[in-house]
Symmetry: C2
Subunit: 445 residues, 2 copies
């Protein structure tokens, strides 16, 4: 796979190496000079807390991380830039020219849920090869997991009704592509974003905007133009002028086979009921109602009793419904005392002034279930895994010796998320603010 | 300019055409079939409101919009995708194969401030050629302007002190590059993001993280390794273990020429005072203090009395400090009744159920100043411009007949923002929540 796929563009993109903070390279230079760069090291990605009020997190972006690591190479253009700007010295540039990641990466499989302290990714190798990956790994996981968490809550709130991601215009144009992917993982079914359809094969949908109605001399002309070319199964937008008149006209133009009507403004609960009644009276009993106005998981839930068939969600989805990032960090948790291949790993941790302390040591994680098969604790530990948890371990090997082991179709990831969420206590999908739905227990054996 | 530059990558990216919502293309198909696609049309970008409590907005991303419009082409790969997925029919695909934007774009120059109703961009041409650009234009302006607005507030709060953008790890890897750019427009001076340095020539900075200290057998080893290779002017991170001991050690290792120390946790106000006193007592009176822990504009302001020399800002900057998008919309405001070249433009507007109404007509905008030269109103109108406002008009021509007229260096944009903000009433940069600092007056002559 080349990084064209990674970016979601029909192009060849040779490198992800510059999605990197300057200090990763100066640390590399200093460690190379000091002879400490080759010490075997373990970095872990985790969060200290969930966003306020949230009950679980959703791991998303893992597949994108694998692509980014594979394409993390320093070509001549990049090296020339680093040389011109004197970011690092010549020995470091030579080292970078030969860089590729040759270590191991373990992680929670994409779509899994996580909790505070869950080691969602573990990167092992020399200090030098691992430290460089910090920025791009965090960019991807922090963004994608934030969107997936919002999508998952919306999906739970929607029950079985359709969910369409429509937020491309509310976020950076390439963040939008990743957001569509994360929304799909979290339970959405389709996107408006063509680039997301191109890159990830997510179904794309769309019909028309108010501008299309306003372009024409009358609403009738607009509806006729749309139905003539897109067919009676299309979705007509009925709130440009008067909704009741538009619904009447829509059925007159398209007949009772009209696919759907879309409502994009007003009191959706009230309007949806009125439109449903009107459609039924006109005989368009199979015509669906799609609503799309500034929805979030609370608005979706509040429309649970309304005759709505599908929700289109934009702003609140692609901005993580109040939490556009999820504070994952990438921390050195263990390293060898020397560069000798057999030097044992020793745990390390910052002793912080504030709340930024972390736990040293290379960790495993397992989810303990109660006798009914419902999750009751996230168990995170160092040392041997207790026998009773051995079958419930969460980390899987993703990259071994630099080779990607585990790529999977997005539908499998989506199914995994649904299954993982289904094993959580029922209160996981309550929308009210609360604590993590299961506690994280730290053990050290 | 090719889209490699657009993406901030050392590559050739042929097209931005898929950063587009599905419905833009189905509307195109329907308008082509109905014979309405060639009606001359005017679309405007504006917001109905500022984010809650904000007093002004900042236009950012205009330069990226110009690149995106220039690179909006449908090549064979893209057309093949659209055909395979049956997004549009064959006549529409043929039309797209020849697409390039040949219309005109006017807009607020990048870096300007804006208010509710300000027509920050105006796109004119056939309906077909203009409607396609909606999604990518909004993606760019909504994202970049949100970041620039947060940056501007932080810059005002920081007074003359240094501001470093460090948020790459908290947002999508390419959104991060655009965020660095927008932060620079808003008043930041440097970034940690190497891709932003590569693409936009923004100064990049960085030294070391806690992992570097933890890699070494002692803090002394770590400091020595860093100073040996990066020089005494480097910034040492002093809060891995004990701050007082670390500051003592830092000056011992680097001498009083030590460039700076960085504090990344704890009560920054208290710690900064203590560290300053210690540095001064050690004779390191020129050693600067950089702080970097979860800062936003309020935290920056609250450190105004602390002996801090520079702020590194991450999460809150790249997520727009609570407002990661800015609700700009792209609305058809006027169109001709026929495709005849001389057909007059007629204003159009949605009559909405809720608060989504808009004002029809092709608009001009001017900022009226009081006798002291301070802005007192944003005047937005249709029809002729009043003589007294003719010299204060805000829109400039950016693209004419499809050709980009106005590219400018980012430093000019940054200077423009500073100047524009400086003409606002003093209360503009108050951090307390309030209304837009000047009213928007709508006139129609």
């Amino acid at each position: 796979m080349n990084s064209a796929d990674y970016l979601g563009l029909p192009v060849d993109v040779p490198s992800t190496a510059l999605f990197t903070d300057h200090y990763e390279l100066t640390m590399l230079q200093a460690a190379l000079a000091a002879g400490t760069a080759d010490r075997r090291s373990v970095f872990e990605v985790f969060t200290r807390r969930l966003p306020e009020g949230r009950r679980y997190g959703v791991v998303a972006g893992t597949g994108r991380v694998l692509d980014a690591v594979e394409n993390f190479r320093f070509d001549d253009g990049v090296l020339g830039f680093l040389r011109d700007r004197r970011v690092v010295d010549e020995p470091t540039l030579e080292w970078l020219a030969n860089y590729r990641f040759r270590g191991d990466i373990w992680g929670y499989p994409e779509g899994e849920v996580y909790f505070p302290g869950s080691p969602v990714l573990r990167v092992e190798g020399s200090f030098a090869e691992c430290v460089l990956l910090e920025t791009v790994i965090l960019s991807i996981l922090n963004h994608d997991s934030a969107i997936a968490a919002a999508a998952s809550r919306m999906s739970a709130a929607a029950g079985g009704r359709g969910l369409i991601e429509m937020g491309a215009r509310r976020t950076h144009e390439l963040a939008a592509v990743a957001a569509s992917r994360a929304a799909y993982v979290g339970g959405f079914e389709a996107t408006s974003d063509l680039a997301a359809g191109f890159r990830y094969d997510i179904p794309t949908v769309g019909t028309s905007a108010h501008a299309f109605t306003l372009l024409h001399d009358s609403e009738r002309d607009a509806f006729t133009a749309q139905v003539d070319t897109l067919g009676r199964g299309t979705t007509l937008l009925v709130d440009t002028y008067d909704v009741t008149e538009a619904v009447r006209l829509a059925v007159e133009v398209a007949g009772t086979e009209l696919g759907a009507v879309r409502i994009d403004s007003g009191d959706l609960l009230l309007v949806a009921h009125r439109v449903r009644q009107q459609l039924d009276e006109l005989g368009a009993t199979d015509t669906r109602i799609v609503v799309t106005s500034d929805l979030d998981e609370y608005a979706i839930a509040s429309l649970g009793a309304a005759p709505v068939d599908a929700y289109g969600v934009g702003t609140q989805l692609v901005t993580g419904s109040g939490h556009p990032t999820c504070s994952m960090v990438y921390k050195l948790v263990a390293r060898a005392h020397s560069a000798a291949p057999q030097a044992p790993l020793e745990p390390v941790a910052k002793k912080s002034l504030g709340s930024k302390s972390s736990r040293g040591g290379r960790k495993w994680a397992a989810r303990r279930l109660d006798e009914d098969g419902v999750a009751e604790a996230e168990v995170v530990g160092t040392g041997p895994v207790p026998a009773e948890l051995a079958g419930r371990q969460l980390l899987v090997e993703l990259i071994k010796g630099g080779e990607v082991l585990a790529r999977e179709p997005l539908d499998a990831v989506r199914a995994r998320h649904k299954a993982a969420r289904g094993l959580l206590p029922l209160s996981a999908t309550q929308l009210s603010r609360g604590e993590a739905v299961i506690p994280t227990e730290h053990v050290s054996l």
